[in-house]
Every structure is written in C-alpha cells, then in structure tokens.
Subunit: 276 residues, 2 copies
C-alpha cells in the first residue's frame, strides 16, 4: 500500500538517494522527483533508479505530498524558507539530518507540517555514488516531532520508516541532540582529533585498530562543521566528560597504577560488549 | 621448504594459534607443540589443527628449533627466564607482542638468540576460539632485532613472516614503541576513554560510527594494561599531542569559527583518506 503520492527528495546523496531507492522498491510512494545542487549527483541518482525524474523547476513542489530535505542542515533550512509558501496545506515535510533542535525550531515556524527525522544509517561516505538499497533495514530512525505536531501526519511518517525496516524512536528535538552529542558527534570529534595527532610518516605502520577508530574522520568536513556548530553546547559538555575520562586514564598511567588502569579498561570493555 | 624443524608455541590464543595453523598449512615447520596456561585453550587449539601436540612437560623446549612466545608481555618474560638455560644453542626465540623495547632488552640479556616480532594482525578478540587462517597475509610484521643479533637468524625469521604473507618492516625496538604508541596504543586509550564517556542509557541510540570508533575498547583489560605500562613514556607523549589537537578543535567550536573548524576537519579527512 502506498503511503504517499508525489514525493520530492531534495539532495540525492547517500541518504536521500538510498531513501528514494527503497521507497520505490517497497512501493511506498507513487512518483519520486529528485533535486540536487549538483547536476551530476541527481543524474547519477536517476541512473541508479533512486528517483523517477529530475526536478526541472520548483513548481514540482506545489503538488508534492511528501518532501524530504536531505542536504546539509543550513542548505535544508534555506530551501525550506524558499518553498514554505509554495507547498500544499497537507504536504508533509521531513528532513534526515544529524541535529534536530535548531532545524525543527527554524522550519516549524514557517512550515507547521515539518517533522524532523534522523535515520542512523549514514556513514563517512557522501553523494549519489554511495546510494545503496536496504540501509534503513534494522537501523534506528529517531523522529523528533515538535509539541504542536499533527498526530495523523506523525503516525504516517512513523509508518513510513517502519515500512523501510527501521526501528522508530520518538524523542524531543532537545533530547535527540543531547543523546546524539554523546553517541555520534563526540565519536566524530575524537576521530578527527585522533587522526590529526598521528605523524604522517607513521600512518602506514598501523592496522585495523587505527583504521576503524578513525573511519568516520573521512566524513565531509563542511557537513560536520555545520553539525558541530548546530549542537555546540551539548558537544562541549560531552567533550568535557571525555576529557575527564582521558585525564583519569592518563593519571593511572602516570602513577603506574596497574590495578586502577585495569579497572578503567575493564569498565570500558564491559560497556562496549553491550553494544554488540 | 621447511624453515624450522621442531616448533613450540607458548600461548595458543588468537595470534599463537593462528600462527600454528598457517605454519602447518604452509609446511614451514615440521612439528608444532603448543603450551598454554589455560588447558581449554590448548585443547581447542589442538582440535582446530593449530598445533600437532600439547606440551606435557617443559622438556619439549630442549629440542626446539623455534620457540614462539605468544602470551601477554609479563608472562612471556617470566617464561623466557624459566627456559633460558634449557634451550639449544641455535634455537631461535621470537615473541609476537605489542611493545618491544622492554621485552627485547629483558629477554636478550638471558637469550641472545631472541628476536622481537610484532605482527599487526591482532584484534580485540582473544583466545583459541578466535584462531583463524590467513590473518598474516597482506599484513605488516615489524621485526625489532637488537644490535647484536645473529644476521642468519634474523634472515630466517624475516623469511618466516614473508612466507606467511606478511610485509616485513625492520625497526629498532625503541622506534617500534615510538611509532606504535601513536598508531595503536593511542587509539586504544582513546577508544577506552570514549566508551567510558557515554551514559549507559544512551548506548543503544547509536550506529556504526560509535561501534567502529570503540571496537578495540573490547580488548582484554589485563593485556592492554601491561602494554600501556610497558610503553608508558611514549604513550604519555602521544596523549599530550592528542589532548592538544582536541583542545584546538574545542576552541574552534567555542569560538563558533566555522572556517577554522572546517579546516581542522578537512586536514583530518585528507589524512584519513591516505590510510585507505
């Protein structure tokens, strides 16, 4: 059963394009139109079957039942400003970005039907070249409705993600940003700083440990710079916690206190094992 | 062509056992005897075909042409002390541990034929249950001979690792520890501290980024505590570099300086991309 009729995806990269691919494969929408700031991206998305057609003018927006904003946060907000007065009354607009408080408060002011979404299905890769089927299956999608959300629209968006195979978790935008600062933004900050600490000439004398620990540092610099700035205060709090844990381990090492050191590592190991 | 006749592996876990498996499969040695502090480990290694027989007494050592120390650093050193007077004159003793300066200086005093080795093929897993064929193929093995090494013995050890498919890199024990402090020990310290920073209740709201960044924090606490302590000074220096890089990124975020922030991330991205 189709959940939406005309669907427009703005930004046909890894997440936007993969969404198009799965929405079409699972027959959840009738027609998918793609827009992108980069012609090659939208053309590749079309070639890969992620969209049915390439949007030629913003007029397409007028008929849309579902609009998916899948560009970096600032571009999403600017685009929402542009289309706010063109969309149908019952059109549902969602995004798929990594922070929520900022975007939900800004877009909800102009598009009351906006519902923030964050599928935890991204990676360090970007662009239509990395479009892939099934990335939402068995993944978590956090949905962050504002207080005045239309319940019917929210249910429809939840159903959409569930039909894509995701486990839906509903949080306030504020709670989302607080949690993700720890579980996603902090690991990125750490990975970027770690790779920047290693002298170039030593890089090749490494193995899977360094590769895995720093994988996400190959993420897009501009996108993550925007993410960090839009969740700045939460991230600074997490960073303070991390710096404290690091100083703690350093102290155990400085003092050659094997028992203290082993206990710290054991706590970490047990916690990590719960992650699976 | 066989490189060694009787071979004894002390510690038949992930590295020791996998070595036995490949040495036998590639017919590089004639008979592999296994010892372990844990009966179940050595029995499983035998069952998996990683060793030909289980050592029943230390007398086996007397006939050995190659002895591989594959326990944690302190256990390796204690074992070397025990066998130093029992081994044949031309017996070659190697280890496979993560730090080299300490072990090479201690064991070389009592066993001049000792050659430190570090195959970069480990993982967070341990024990005979994780024995696996081919883990040395296309991997790096760092060999750290002391200044007074027997050149013929060194060549034989290099040939052994090359026949296992590894790329051999020769470094002094001091240089090894300096490099690995950055490329392996620091990532471990960071991963342990990162997972310890995350509130338990937030753990499940994460994706592949956190999982990969913290994979190695599931490593054995006692083993890594020994590794950290035996390379303490180098690690403390690396930690200071990392803390500086972290503070740098934090400053850019505090000042909301997007250009500065993006530059830091871009430098990291370019560096990480060279790792492949």
């Amino acid at each position: 059963m189709k959940l939406f009729n005309k669907t427009v995806i703005i930004g046909t990269g890894l997440i936007g394009g993969s969404l198009g691919l799965d929405l079409k494969a699972k027959h959840l929408v009738s027609l998918v139109t793609g827009f992108s700031r980069h012609k090659s991206n939208v053309e590749l998305a079309k070639k890969l079957g992620a969209i049915d057609c390439i949007g030629s003018s913003l007029d397409v927006i007028k008929d849309a039942d579902l609009i998916i904003l899948a560009m970096p946060p600032e571009a999403n907000i600017n685009f929402a400003l542009k289309i706010a007065k063109k969309i149908k009354d019952n059109c549902i607009v969602i995004d798929v970005g990594s922070t929520k408080r900022d975007i939900v408060s800004k877009i909800n002011r102009i598009i009351p039907g906006f519902i923030g979404c964050h599928p935890l299905s991204g990676s360090e890769k970007r662009g239509a070249a990395n479009i892939s089927a099934g990335i939402f299956q068995d993944s978590i999608c956090i949905i962050t409705p504002s207080a005045r959300v239309n319940k019917k629209a929210l249910n429809k968006v939840c159903r959409l993600w569930r039909r894509l195979g995701s486990k839906v978790v509903i949080l306030t935008p504020e709670k989302h940003d607080q949690v993700l600062a720890f579980t996603s933004h902090l690991p990125h900050i750490v990975a970027f700083s770690l790779v920047n600490s290693i002298p170039d000439r030593f890089l090749t004398l490494s193995s899977g440990g360094l590769r895995d620990t720093t994988r996400i540092s190959a993420s897009d610099a501009n996108l993550w710079s925007e993410v960090f700035l839009s969740n700045r205060e939460n991230i600074l709090s997490c960073l303070a916690v991390f710096q404290k844990k690091l100083a703690f381990l350093k102290l155990a090492l400085e003092r050659k206190n094997k028992k203290f050191l082993t206990n710290i590592l054991l706590t970490a190991k047990k916690k990590r094992e719960r992650l699976g």
